[in-house]
Symmetry: C2
Subunit: 183 residues, 2 copies
DNA sequence: TCTTGCTATGCAACGAGTTGCATAGCAAGA
DNA sequence: TCTTGCTATGCAACTCGTTGCATAGCAAGA
């Protein structure tokens, strides 16, 4: 129910095609709301029928035409009324936590394999954190001098940074615990 | 695809009925993997057909019979092979982050409403953190003296605590940012 | 006595999300 | 020249997850 709203926010920040939205979801918005291009195309079509967005066919000579979407006043109204609705509690699904508890029922080999997995997983989170920090330096070089939209984007990015740092610290705790099992 | 595995872990820790599993998912396992009773009943049935678990009908005189499930050797094998598979990156879906970015396209009223929402949301996370800390004191009073299973459960719980503390700190950052917009 | 709430399981319908595949032309490099 | 990869959109089939409803008896309190 909320993909629509994430799309509205993204299109208000910058109009664009389904394809462009899909790429943004891989980067910026996708940090806190994932979606594939399939979902996005399907939802965009429904949103256009409902009058939340309008698509404009743009021929590009050679390449397939693209439909660039922008938000209508109806769409804006939908968004603002959603903004005033209660925030739903997040549904956390952390596969690694299940695996950690599950490894109690595996042997030393399984525990060794999990340690290797956690280390690999740790590297990917380290990479994500670096990407966030680079983006922060690039997009917000002077945090004291930002407009309203940028300040809001910045505080969301700081949330991403805090999340990654927390995960890394916890993964260290996990590794210490796992290696300490066969003391 | 992973609900099955969360159920296997939960049933290995303690066999039980679909109903009991649903309650555990509201508490312990549900911290990092949510599921409703509907999902659990459906998946349990499929798991029994596939031979991962066996159900034993237990009459209780008066109340409806319950089916208590436990994990078969097949189920254990399924679990251990899943434990050795790569950890999938988590799909983060954080509605509040979308709303924060969206509030750039709303007026001062909308921003005031969001501040109230964030405060309400903060209280619920404070409650969750307290519940975790109480559980930690109750279940792990002497952290130096735990068996393997308890040490693994403890490190997962510490992850939950770290997550809630991170969220609370970030929400304070969000509130400062939001109230500072109309300086 | 009547209502509320708990244990215990389940159907049916729907909506959300994933996966595989298909089309189609252009650009860049091996 | 051939392959790979990118832009750009979409169908079809499937699985996952949610919501509303239904049944049924017991226990506890108003």
């Amino acid at each position: 129910m909320a993909l629509e709203h994430a799309i509205l926010v993204s299109l208000l920040e910058q109009p664009g095609s389904g394809y462009e939205l899909a790429r943004r979801f891989e980067r910026s918005i996708g940090r806190f709301w994932t979606a594939t291009h399939q979902q996005i195309y399907r939802v965009l079509k429904r949103m256009e029928i409902d009058g939340w967005v309008v698509g404009e066919e743009i021929g590009q000579g050679g390449r397939p035409d693209k439909r660039s979407y922008s938000v209508t006043t109806v769409g804006r109204t939908v968004l603002t009324s959603w903004l005033r609705a209660p925030v739903q509690p997040e549904a956390i699904r952390h596969e690694l936590a299940v695996k950690i508890r599950g490894v109690a029922f595996d042997d030393a080999d399984g525990r060794a394999a999990l340690i290797a997995e956690v280390e690999r997983y740790r590297v990917s989170h380290e990479t994500t954190l670096e990407r966030y920090l680079n983006g922060e330096h690039r997009d917000f070089p002077d945090p004291r001098n930002l407009n309203l939209q940028q300040r809001l984007q910045h505080v969301v990015l700081r949330g991403g940074v805090a999340y990654e740092q927390m995960v890394l610290a916890w993964l260290d705790d996990v590794l210490t615990t796992l290696t300490g099992l066969d003391h």
